[in-house]
């Protein structure tokens, strides 16, 4: 039995009726209609252009943040928060729209912000490297995992983050 708080291990197991299944199922077999799943995938696919455009905006934003940082280190704290937000947003979306490399690069960027002891260590070069990688993906419409080259790029960014943080 999993954790419980009572001294003698007493617990109550409750099995409510499966009203959810009763609501959706005619009784025999079941499952979500594969045609509807394909339809949903097609809708998401049609949204990928919009996603790519939004990534373009985020890349421009990152480059601007890198510039702000390079010009004035006093901006570091503000820049860090924004970079973290960009990383968090994009890592959670890229692969949904068949841009998994965007998720991976953004995850590396987010990880960078987590590993830094303080915002004063933030490096404009690291921001630019990540923005540049995302630009290569979006500008050239690199869908899917990017093969060995894609993996190598992501690993190199992760190694850069390890070197420049922690």
């Amino acid at each position: 039995m999993a954790q419980n708080g009572s001294e003698n291990g007493a617990y109550q197991l409750i099995t409510p009726p499966n009203l959810l299944k009763a609501k959706v199922s005619a009784g025999d077999g079941g499952g979500i209609d594969p045609d509807l799943i394909k339809q949903a995938e097609s809708v998401i696919d049609s949204m990928s252009g919009e996603f790519a455009e939004s990534v373009g905006h985020e890349i421009a934003r990152l480059m601007k943040l890198a510039l702000d940082l390079a010009e004035d280190m006093a901006q570091a704290e503000k820049v860090m928060k924004k970079v973290r937000s960009v990383g968090h947003e994009l890592r959670g979306q890229g692969a949904t729209y068949d841009y998994p490399l965007i998720s991976d690069v953004a995850a590396s960027l987010f990880r960078y912000t987590e590993r830094l002891y303080s915002h004063v260590e933030l490096s404009a070069d690291v921001l630019r490297a990540h923005a540049d990688a995302m630009r290569a993906v979006i500008k050239n419409d690199v869908r899917g995992d990017g093969g060995a080259v894609g993996a190598d790029l992501v690993q190199s960014l992760e190694a850069l983050v390890d070197r420049m943080s922690g």
Binding site: M1, N18, R143, D145
Partner: protein
């Protein structure tokens, strides 16, 4: 015969407008039209108490109350009209510690971002076909947290099958794409001083 999903009512609680819209779009495309989406846990619990929902999707981190606090209220508040409702938690954070915390507060399923339509559908199917019994102890009320029999299990890393990474497509790169990625890689090497 496939499910008839049009009778379901879903509640989405997420402070990210894009995720709310994404979930709504996918669920709508598979036939679910009664979908309410709110941007914080307080509004989420208010909605939950007002209407009868079949499934709740909630984000992990939100303000002013977290997704975990929302689940707590759904499971244990006297005002909760249905403490047994399946709750699917969505998050970019899928480390074991967070997943365990979510389970300990009564989350039914965990959906890691980024998710695909396939994985979302798998979670939906799971709560419909394999509802967990509920456990009540002095300190916990929620879905049974014991590991269910998973035919995909073949070793100690079993939990990873519950948070499967998105199946990414494998496509051949054009020469232009390959060059662009290699150029970017070279740029990283330059910065790293390699």
């Amino acid at each position: 015969m496939s499910y008839r999903l049009e009778g379901l009512r879903i509640l989405i609680v997420d402070d990210n407008a894009h995720i709310r819209q994404l979930l709504r779009t996918i669920l709508h495309a598979v036939g679910i039209h009664s979908i309410d989406a709110v941007e914080d846990g307080v509004a989420g619990f208010e909605s939950f108490c007002r209407l009868e929902y079949d499934i709740v999707f909630t984000d992990f981190e939100m303000e002013p109350i977290s997704g975990l606090d929302l689940v707590d209220m759904i499971r244990t508040s006297r005002k909760s009209p249905n403490p047994y409702v399946p709750v699917i938690m969505i998050s970019s954070y899928s480390d074991e510690e967070r997943v365990q915390r979510a389970r300990d507060r009564g989350v039914t399923e965990f959906l890691a971002k980024p998710f695909t339509v396939d994985v979302l559908m798998a979670r939906l199917q799971s709560v419909i076909e394999e509802p967990r019994p509920f456990v009540k102890t002095d300190s916990y009320f929620g879905p049974d947290r014991r590991r269910k029999q998973d035919p995909r299990y073949s070793g100690p890393e079993r939990r990873k099958t519950q948070l499967e990474k998105v199946d990414v497509s494998v496509r051949d790169l054009s020469a232009q794409q390959r060059n662009a990625l290699e150029e970017s890689r070279a740029n990283v090497a330059k910065i790293a001083g390699d």
